[in-house]
């Protein structure tokens, strides 16, 4: 960035502001860092997806299909670890958030641009550790690294825990950066009650990243020390407590679930508002429910441990607190639905993803009730019911929001439009494939099929076969989605500044934005969803409220 003069900042679009590898790798521009994150996480998603398809293929029939049991254990561990640490946690915050947050705020960059680049490189280093672990024998502990299995297995645990440890710092620095950016770099007039819900969601996510991730760091550090020095804190054979590891792990990893889902909710709030041409119903409730999820998410971690040997008193406490989480989630779903009422709904592909999110998040959320209820959780814990539940939340919700959000902001990021028809085809494949893969897993689970099983009883064969076929449709959907993006990059028509006619602040910038995001510091005089101030047609040419400021 230091090579750019003032003219460049205001007049050059960020994609053209320097060519060559170096101009990307050393950039301090949040948009380019966002794009680099985007490319990285898409590669991580591809890798995790390949493992997922291999797993489903192995489970097509009982007994050995394509791999040995030990290979299967490595495959599901790598699928989980890659998807969680390399893909889903950085997906919306680090890729989309990095690009969109400063533009939405009317800021020129995030608060700490160097820290932002550093967090990207920490992510890269973490990824290298993860890849090293894969090459050097991979890990077979499951992404949860439960002791004492993780301290006794011969697989490459230390490098993978170090990878997650390092990635955690990337996540912390991103969260820290966003929190400070939201506090200190909002455009004039953009006070807290005018903050877009995407920002509220990302702010809540950042709080969790900042508060929870350090505990993961110390947990994994102690685990690595246990393997190197034989530290006994989690090792029963040395007087430690393996269940304590689970407390440590879930103190991070339950809030981490909200690091994954709250950004998805944040994206969907934007999508529904834009394509309903309506302010989000219950704006304040949605904003506060994001913060509520962030805070209550810290009080429920031991519901992952109801059968693990925790005391009955703790089980009671954590079950009761777990139900509290249902309220902010429910409030969001109700408000989104109410927003659709009497809107003017434009069914673009991003909007279809938002509706798919609504459907699948509702299923994911409601099936959470079975798991929060103590009596039924005992039966369902560690079965495919849980697998299906969290895939509905993580994949059916967050990934849908990510796919929708990426298409929605694609014109801003790439400066080009995509092919709406093919995108709709990919949406249909993804939607059908996803539900085919995971809906049957609820039935398998409640009938007693435990998770992480390489082989299974013949009675589960039809369900597994159905699920595997579903995964092929899902995979095909992603390939078509990738084709949509590539086709857009190669031959997509140039995008206007505001192709969706959105009232969102980020659309007042050019597509793609100039280096400093705006040619002039915007002054905000309205809310982010004030569609009632204008006609539909005017929206596409720039919001009339903003016009005087531009002149």
């Amino acid at each position: 960035m230091s090579t750019h003069g003032e003219e460049d900042l205001l007049n050059t679009n960020y994609l053209k502001a320097g060519t060559g590898v170096k101009s990307w790798l050393l950039t301090l521009d949040h948009k380019r860092i966002g794009v680099m994150y985007l490319v990285s996480i898409i590669m991580a998603f591809f890798l995790g997806g390949v493992f997922a398809l291999l797993l489903r293929l192995e489970l097509l029939a009982p007994g050995r299909t394509i791999m040995t049991a030990a290979q299967y254990n490595r495959a599901f561990t790598l699928h989980g670890a890659i998807m969680v640490f390399l893909f889903i946690i950085p997906s919306i915050p680090a890729a989309l958030g990095n690009f969109i947050i400063p533009v939405m705020l009317g800021a020129k960059d995030v608060a700490f641009p160097k820290l932002n680049l550093l967090s990207f490189y920490i992510y890269v280093i973490g990824t290298i550790f993860a890849l090293f672990s894969i090459i050097s024998g991979a890990v077979d502990t499951g992404w949860t690294f439960y002791t004492p299995y993780s301290t006794s297995t011969n697989s490459s645990v230390v490098s993978m825990t170090m990878a997650a440890f390092i990635l955690g710092f990337s996540s912390i620095l991103t969260g820290l950066n966003f929190m400070v950016t939201v506090h200190k770099l909002r455009a004039p007039g953009l006070h807290w009650r005018r903050l877009p819900l995407f920002i509220w969601g990302m702010y809540a996510t950042s709080i969790i990243q900042v508060l929870a991730t350090p505990v993961l760091a110390i947990t994994l550090f102690l685990l690595a020390m246990a393997r190197v020095f034989g530290l006994g804190i989690f090792d029963a054979s040395l007087g430690g407590d393996p269940v304590l590891f689970q407390h440590f792990f879930w103190f991070y990893s339950h809030p981490a679930v909200y690091i994954m889902i709250v950004p998805g909710m944040a994206v969907v709030s934007e999508l529904i508002a834009t394509f309903s041409r309506r302010a989000i119903f219950g704006y304040f409730a949605i904003a506060m429910s994001s913060l509520g999820l962030a805070l209550v998410g810290f009080l429920v971690w031991a519901h992952h441990m109801f059968t693990a040997g925790i005391s009955e008193f703790a089980a009671m406490l954590f079950s009761a607190l777990t139900f509290l989480v249902a309220i902010p989630s429910g409030v969001k779903v109700f408000n989104w639905t109410a927003t659709l009422y009497k809107g003017s709904i434009w069914l673009t592909t991003p909007m279809l993803y938002a509706i798919a999110f609504l459907i699948q998040f509702t299923i994911g959320g409601l099936t959470g009730l079975f798991l929060g209820t103590l009596a039924t959780d005992i039966h369902l814990h560690d079965t495919y019911f849980v697998v299906a539940h969290f895939h509905y939340v993580m994949m059916g919700s967050t990934v849908m929001a990510f796919l929708g959000g990426l298409l929605y902001w694609w014109p801003k990021i790439a400066g080009k439009m995509y092919d709406e028809t093919i995108a709709k085809v990919s949406f249909a494949l993804v939607f059908i494939g996803f539900n085919a893969t995971f809906l049957v897993q609820f039935i398998m689970g409640s009938r007693g099929m435990p998770r992480r099983y390489y082989d299974y009883l013949p009675e589960f064969r039809p369900y597994h076969a159905f699920s595997t076929v579903g995964s092929w449709i899902l995979g095909l959907g992603f390939i078509v989605y990738a084709y949509v993006l590539i086709k857009s990059l190669r031959s997509g028509p140039k995008a206007p500044p505001n192709p969706w006619g959105s009232a969102g602040f980020e659309w007042a910038s050019e597509s793609p934005p100039v280096l400093a995001n705006f040619r002039e510091v915007p002054t905000i005089t309205r809310g982010p969803y004030d569609y009632h101030l204008t006609t539909d047609e005017e929206l596409f040419d720039g919001f009339p409220e903003d016009a005087p400021k531009k002149a």
Binding site: P113, L115, M179, I218, G232
Partner: protein
């Protein structure tokens, strides 16, 4: 925490003259300064939670075996611990004074106090070194290495084959106390090392003349980090050395 400070170019028209240390995405030095401090405080928050995990482990295992903890803690040298406490408290004072001097634009004073702080940091590490070697000599080591002086008997990465051995009248279970002791003081020691790096960098920039009355962000941030190191030690000292 350096990022806010040194982006080299100025941008955007404003009524004021833009100093070169004002990053292009900030409007005013005050905004940039507050931003840096807010970021640092959030970072301090994460550090507290990171140490927090070890405090949880301490609370749990001490609650389970208070007597073992008490016996084990008597093998720590509280006098050295107390000296180290005073060294760190003094370094905190000098760090605060360094900030003060840079606030009033006294470059030499700032450097002087930063050097004093760094000397204290090295002093702290020297005393820590003396303590650690004594522990290594006596086999007062964490986990399976307990009772194996200088990590003897291949206890590093040794897996299940090596078990803690009883030493100095302590039960083998005392390996847990020393595990927590070494993890806590070790992690703290790593922070001291990082602090030395940060303060050296601040000192270098101060001598280069980067700072002025209007811009001393890095001094302030570096000092905040150093106070955090002190803050953690304020709890470690009584928990490990005094009450056990």
């Amino acid at each position: 925490m350096s990022t806010a400070s040194s982006t080299e170019h100025a941008a955007a028209s404003h009524g004021h003259e833009h100093p070169k240390w004002l990053a292009h995405h900030f409007d005013s030095p005050a905004q940039q300064f507050d931003t840096a401090k807010l970021g640092m405080w959030i970072f301090i928050c994460t550090e507290i939670l990171m140490f927090g995990g070890l405090f949880v482990a301490y609370a749990i295992f001490r609650g389970q075996e208070p007597q073992m903890f008490h016996q084990a803690h008597e093998h720590l040298n509280w006098r050295l611990g107390a000296v180290n406490t005073i060294v760190l408290l003094f370094s905190s004072l000098t760090a605060a004074l360094a900030v003060r001097q840079s606030q009033v634009g006294d470059r030499k004073g700032t450097s002087r106090y930063l050097v004093l702080t760094l000397l204290c940091a090295f002093g702290f590490l020297c005393i820590k070194y003396i303590e650690y070697t004594a522990k290594l000599d006596h086999g007062l080591l964490p986990g399976r290495c307990f009772g194996h002086p200088w990590f003897g008997d291949h206890c590093i990465g040794g897996g299940a084959a090596v078990l803690p051995a009883a030493v100095h009248g302590l039960s083998t279970r005392a390996h847990m106390f020393f595990a927590i002791y070494f993890m806590m003081t070790g992690l703290h020691g790593v922070h001291v090392l990082v602090g030395i790096g940060v303060l050296s960098w601040v000192l270098m920039r101060n001598m280069r003349g980067d700072f002025s009355k209007g811009y001393f962000t890095a001094v302030e941030i570096g000092a905040l980090y150093w106070h955090l190191v002190d803050l953690v030690w304020i709890y470690l000292f009584p928990l490990l050395y005094l009450v056990g």
